[in-house]
C-alpha cells in the first residue's frame, strides 16, 4: 500500500484572541506540536482525543481548511502545505469533508438535491442533478428525498445527506469530523455501517475524528490518539484495544461506560 497522505513534523499555531493586547499582535498558541504520520491508501484512520487535543485542527490542516505553520502535508505526492486557494482548487475534489453538525453545514434554504449537486457544479461535472441523486441512493436514501429540505429530515438522514455530498465527487479521501456524536445510538449504528460499506465499495481512504473510542473499534484499521497537540499513541486498532500503551489511551478507554452493570466502572460512594 502506498501512502496517500504523508505528514511530517506538522505544526500549527493560532492567535489567542482572548489575550490580544489593544495594540499589536495577539500571542500565538501552538495547537499542533509536531506530528508525523502517514495514511496509506484505503486505510480507515481513527483520530481520537479529548476536547482541546487538536484533533479537529489536525483534520482541517489535512484538507487545508487551515494552513500549517511549519512542517509538511503531502497528498498523493503533492505538497499541500502552503498552496494558495487557486492552486488547491483543482485538487479539492479529491479530498472531501463531512461535518459534525448537519444542521449548520446544510443550507436550510436549499433542497437536498441542490445541496449535494453544489460541489458537482462547482467542479464543472456534467449533469450534477443526476450525480446528486445517485449519491443519495448510495447512502441508502430514496431519490425522492432530493426534493426535501434539511428540516424535513431526521438527524441520521441529515448526516447521510452530508455523506452523500462528500462522496458525490468520488474523492480519494474523506475526513469525517465527529459525524456521529450528535446522533442517537440507532442512527449512529446506521451511519457508521453506511460509511464502512462506502469505504469498501468506493475504495476510499478515511480519517474519522471522534472523542469516543467505542465507535472507532467498529470502523477503523488504525488509531492515532492525540493529547494536547501531540500524538501519544499510533497503533493498529486491535492492538490498541487489546493492549493500550499510552497512559492517556488507557484513561480514555476506562472512561467509556460499557452497557453492562456487572462490570465495575467507578465505586459508588455510599
Amino acid at each position: 500500500m502506498s501512502a496517500l497522505y504523508q505528514i511530517e513534523d506538522l505544526r500549527l499555531s493560532l492567535p489567542d484572541m482572548t489575550r490580544k493586547p489593544m495594540f499589536g499582535a495577539a500571542p500565538r498558541i501552538e495547537i499542533l506540536k509536531g506530528m508525523s504520520f502517514t495514511i496509506p491508501k484505503g486505510q480507515v484512520l481513527g483520530i481520537v482525543g479529548g476536547s482541546g487535543s487538536g484533533k479537529s485542527t489536525l483534520g482541517r490542516a489535512l484538507v487545508r481548511l487551515l494552513e500549517p505553520t511549519s512542517g509538511s502535508v503531502r497528498f498523493d505526492g503533492t505538497d499541500l502545505t502552503h498552496l494558495s486557494e487557486p492552486e488547491l482548487r483543482p485538487l479539492r475534489h479529491r479530498f472531501q469533508m463531512i461535518f459534525q453538525d448537519p444542521m449548520s453545514s446544510l443550507n436550510p434554504r436549499m433542497s437536498v438535491a441542490r445541496i449535494i449537486a453544489a460541489p458537482l457544479s462547482l467542479h464543472g461535472r456534467p449533469n450534477p442533478r443526476e450525480g446528486a441523486l445517485e449519491a443519495l441512493e448510495r447512502v441508502g436514501l430514496p431519490r425522492s428525498f432530493g426534493a426535501r429540505f434539511p428540516h424535513e429530515l431526521s438527524g441520521g438522514q441529515r448526516q447521510r445527506v452530508g455523506i452523500a455530498r462528500a462522496i458525490a465527487l468520488r474523492p480519494d479521501f474523506i475526513l469525517a469530523d465527529e459525524i456521529v456524536s450528535g446522533l442517537d445510538v440507532s442512527s449512529q449504528a446506521q451511519v457508521l455501517t453506511i460509511l464502512r460499506d462506502l469505504v469498501r465499495e468506493m475504495n476510499l481512504t478515511l480519517a474519522f475524528i471522534s472523542h469516543d473510542l467505542s465507535v472507532i473499534r467498529r470502523l477503523c484499521d488504525r488509531v492515532l490518539v492525540l493529547h494536547q497537540g501531540e500524538i501519544v499513541e499510533d497503533a493498529e486498532c486491535e492492538a490498541l484495544f487489546a493492549a493500550p500503551k499510552a497512559a492517556y489511551t488507557r484513561e480514555l478507554l476506562e472512561a467509556i461506560p460499557e452497557p453492562d452493570p456487572k462490570k465495575p466502572w467507578f465505586q459508588r460512594a455510599s
Binding site: S186, Q190, R217, P261
Partner: protein, 289 residues
C-alpha cells in the same frame, strides 16, 4: 413508598391533537436513581420538564397526575405549585453554557435561588454557596464564586450547576443529559460526582439520557420510551441480562461495546420500529375513543 409518582401523564402540542407524551406512568423511590432512556423525540426530557413545571409554552398537560410525596402538583394553584417544586426539586441541565447567565458572577447565580425560593438571608445563602462548591470538589471556591461562566472550563461549569442543584437540599433531582456536552474523561468525573452527591444527600434522581452505557453504571431502574410511550420499565440488572421488549433489545444491540471485538453495530431494525409505531398508534386510538 415512591417519592415521585406519575400516572397516565399525557402532554399535547398546544392547538393540536398530537400527543408528545402518551399516558406515561412511573415511580421514583425516595433515594432511587431512575434512568429515562430513548431516542431523540421519545419524550424523555419532556417528562423531566413536566415534573419541574418548565414545559415549553407549546406543550400542554391534558391528563394524568404528577405526585410529589403524595401531593398532586397539577391540582395545586400555580403559586403554590412553583413553591413546592422549588423547595423539593431541582434540575441539572444539559448545557452548562446556556444554563448560566454569562453576564453574572457564579456566586449570586447559586445563592439567588436560596434567597428567592427558600427565603434565606443573603449572608447565609452566600455561605451555603461556598460550602456546596467545596462539596463538589472545586478548588478555591471563593475564587470561583467571583468568576464569570466564561472563565471556567466545561467540566467546571457542570460542577457549578451540580452544586447549584444540590444547594437547597432538594429531595428530587432531574438530570437532563448532564454529560452529553462533555468528553468521555470529564463525563466520568461528572457522573461520579453526581452519584457521590446523590448518595450522600439521599436524593431521588431522575436521570435522562440516550446512553444505555451510562444507565447501566448509575441507575437502579430504567424506563425505555419510544414516541412518548413507555416501552419497558425494569430493574437495571434484569434489563441488561434479558431486555424483554423487542425495542429495548434493539436499542441495546445498537449501543457500541468496545471491549467485545466480535460485537457488531446493529441499527434498530425497521420491523422493530414498525412494531413500536404500531403500539403508539394503538395507544392513540384508545385515547381518542
Amino acid at each position: 413508598m415512591s417519592f415521585l409518582k406519575i400516572r397516565d401523564l399525557s402532554v399535547i402540542l398546544r392547538g393540536t391533537n398530537h400527543r408528545l407524551l402518551r399516558g406515561v406512568s412511573l415511580d421514583v423511590g425516595a433515594t432511587e436513581v431512575m434512568g429515562l432512556v430513548g431516542e431523540s423525540g421519545a419524550g424523555k426530557s419532556m417528562i423531566g420538564k413536566a415534573v419541574l413545571g418548565i414545559l415549553p409554552r407549546s406543550a400542554k398537560i391534558v391528563s394524568g397526575s404528577i405526585e410529589l410525596e403524595g401531593v398532586d402538583l397539577l391540582t395545586l394553584p400555580p403559586r403554590q405549585r412553583r413553591h413546592m417544586i422549588g423547595q423539593k426539586a431541582a434540575l441539572i441541565p444539559q448545557d452548562p453554557l446556556t444554563a448560566l447567565n454569562p453576564a453574572r458572577r457564579i456566586g449570586p447565580q447559586i445563592s439567588d435561588r436560596l434567597v428567592d425560593i427558600l427565603g434565606w438571608v443573603r449572608a447565609r445563602a452566600r455561605a451555603r454557596a461556598e460550602e456546596i462548591l467545596h462539596d463538589v470538589h472545586i478548588p478555591q471556591p471563593e475564587r470561583v464564586l467571583r468568576s464569570y461562566p466564561h472563565e471556567l472550563s466545561g467540566g467546571m461549569r457542570q460542577r457549578v450547576l451540580i452544586a447549584s442543584a444540590f444547594a437547597a437540599e432538594p429531595r428530587l433531582i432531574v438530570a437532563d443529559e448532564p454529560t452529553t456536552a462533555l468528553d468521555v474523561t470529564v463525563q466520568k468525573q461528572i457522573l461520579k460526582l453526581i452519584f457521590e452527591m446523590q448518595a450522600r444527600h439521599g436524593t431521588a434522581l431522575l436521570f435522562v439520557t440516550h446512553d444505555l452505557g451510562v444507565v447501566s453504571k448509575i441507575c437502579q431502574r430504567l424506563t425505555v420510551l419510544y414516541g412518548g410511550l413507555v416501552m419497558e420499565e425494569a430493574e437495571v440488572g434484569a434489563f441488561f441480562d434479558t431486555p424483554t421488549h423487542p425495542y429495548s433489545r434493539a436499542l441495546l444491540a445498537a449501543t457500541p461495546r468496545h471491549t467485545d471485538p466480535t460485537a457488531d453495530l446493529t441499527p434498530v431494525p425497521e420491523a422493530v420500529i414498525a412494531e413500536a409505531r404500531r403500539a403508539v398508534a394503538e395507544a392513540d386510538q384508545r385515547w381518542h375513543a
